[in-house]
Symmetry: C2
Subunit: 366 residues, 2 copies
């Protein structure tokens, strides 16, 4: 079965069935303007989403990602109406540096959970560096061969380039829409080289870190702080000659994890080896994830973490906006350069320079 | 020789030598009002500090720590005038959980560097939880028996309780004053259980983490992220029966450090064992610190880190103030509670709630 998102309907060509296409009026017309897609009403969006209509869901996500103010207003209304139906899912963040076999792994992981647990899976992504026009490096459907043609999977690339906060907001809102559309498994993929891990960690229930076996040098690729966020670390490419190396790497990671304080969840992060390519060890990984979910649902941490995340994003949004309002202010921007120079030249303390800038900002507002 | 800070003069009783004490006028006067200490002019402060007068330095630090606006204005003027004379020091952050023998270690470390390198040492502290009235837990002079009576050491407890940003600012400004007074070695002590490590890390050249040998359980005391900030990790109490355990712990830490990416400095953090109580391994630790300083001065990272720190504190001060202005706004504070509830009850998204609060805030200002 063709994936709905690959259909003509998804591409917006035939949604508006009530209106005849120009090409139908004159089939010989060489160049015709595609009729503008009729905008759904908020009610129609919500109805379509709650029915699990992937076409409507896709279009709603496009609204969320749009920069046009009228789209944003509409998107917020749709999201708010979907909110009571959201939340019934397991959200798993999946991170790994390029080369760790992340795409193949997600393909295999997704197929496994759909076969084992049923339900529906949405694969989203956060990559603030991506630009849609250049082809997003994450969530590229061709990289997930099996999932991309699976009827119960919905793959959406990362929102296009923007501030991390903006990209993260869009992904988080997309989670709400997907959950309202009945997707009870959400994967949020991220490339393991930047701050986006913190953003992903702040919107998922379980954070899975994909690593490679190898020498100490290869392990240097892990960004500071990322290992400490992991609820599970899985070493890929544990196949053939590589099995022993992978097991050794797992031991190193286990020892390292002992040096960190126990996570608030009460869960001890587990380290496993697997082979995404050969499909070895996949069940063990997902048994672990579901064991974790049972564990934190029982001890109340699941709910607690989701509440903390909701608060985190409220405060993070406020703080980001406060900073934007300050640093994007033209007068501030020009004084900032001057003050930074003064600080670096040892002519003003950091605090005196900050004070001057703040005085300018708050006096403007009066 | 008595430490200047312990003298009568330091306590402010006899600074004002030109004016006769009431008790001198009438020696039988039972209760008399101590004459108000004459306030130095900014020029007098700077002159005293540049001469290395510890009494004047102490009083200038008291100004820095004062909450009175007139003191703050005066303090800023003094700091600005001292700034051109500051910077010529090695700043070392020293962290360790309570029980790690931090005070004894600092006493021994300080004595060692003064004996080996000469010069003058200031020991400052950051502990946002401390309250002066209750006796600061850090920088308590009685805990540093030898340094507290050393003529070339200046010990100052943590500024009293306040926001971390406020306490950190005061300590950072105190560093400037101490350096201008000729202190070419600065220790900044912090208790290894909170966010204050990040603050200390952001104002020192070398971050030394004191750890204890012990079982895996004891190592759980390290706060997330702290180990990754360390330029050196030293395992205390490597004496008697404990030597082997300490060596084993050192190996564990060394392995764990390999899992982190190489620090920007190009320096590989070293792990050593020592005994603060028996004075074993002290020279090796400080040889390492000085080796580090030579290394980063040669590759340019020393200067780079100081510049980054200066910028960090400028931006951090701005951001903290922007947040304070928002969250301390009475109207915002009351709406915040309402919106947080909406978010937790699933009635509003984090982003919609943030938007409402931001609208209120920015409309007020217009």
């Amino acid at each position: 079965m063709e994936h709905p998102e690959n259909s003509e309907e998804y591409k917006g060509l035939t949604v508006n069935k009530g209106i005849e296409q120009p090409s139908a009026i004159n089939p010989y017309l060489k160049s015709f303007k595609r009729p503008k897609r009729r905008q759904f009403t908020p009610g129609e969006y919500v109805e379509g989403i709650l029915k699990g209509d992937v076409t409507v869901l896709s279009q709603a996500v496009t609204l969320v990602e749009s920069v046009k103010p009228e789209h944003q207003t509409l998107a917020q209304e749709v999201i708010e109406k979907c909110l009571p139906y959201a939340g019934n899912s397991i959200r798993v963040g999946i991170s790994g540096v390029p080369g760790s076999g992340k795409s193949t792994s997600i393909d295999v992981f997704g197929l496994h959970v759909l076969e084992e647990k049923g339900g529906k899976l949405a694969v989203l992504a956060i990559d603030p560096s991506s630009e849609r026009s250049k082809g997003s490096i994450l969530g590229d459907k061709t990289r997930m061969e099996k999932l991309s043609v699976h009827p119960d999977a919905f793959i959406r690339p990362s929102p296009s380039a923007g501030s991390l906060g903006g990209v993260a907001r869009k992904t988080r809102e997309t989670i709400i829409l997907c959950e309202a559309a009945g997707f009870d498994k959400i994967f949020v993929e991220t490339v393991g080289v930047g701050q986006s891990e913190t953003a992903v960690h702040s919107m998922v229930d379980f954070f899975l870190l994909i690593q490679l076996a190898g020498t100490g040098d290869e392990l240097q690729g892990i960004k500071r702080g990322i290992m400490e966020m992991a609820d599970g670390i899985v070493i890929n490419k544990a196949d053939g000659d590589n099995v022993e190396k992978a097991k050794l790497a797992a031991t190193h990671f286990r020892n390292a994890l002992h040096l960190f304080p126990a996570p608030e969840s009460g869960w001890t992060p587990e380290v496993m080896t697997y082979s995404g390519f050969y499909g070895i060890g996949i069940k063990e990984i997902w048994d672990m994830v579901y064991r974790y979910v049972d564990f934190v649902k029982a001890n109340g941490y699941f709910e607690h973490r989701r509440n903390e995340q909701a608060k985190y994003w409220m405060y993070e949004t406020i703080n980001e906006h406060l900073r934007d309002s300050f640093y994007n202010n033209p007068e501030i921007a020009s004084l900032l350069e001057v003050q930074e120079r003064e600080v670096l030249d040892g002519k003003a303390t950091s605090f005196a320079a900050a004070r001057k800038l703040l005085d300018l900002y708050f006096n403007q507002k009066k």
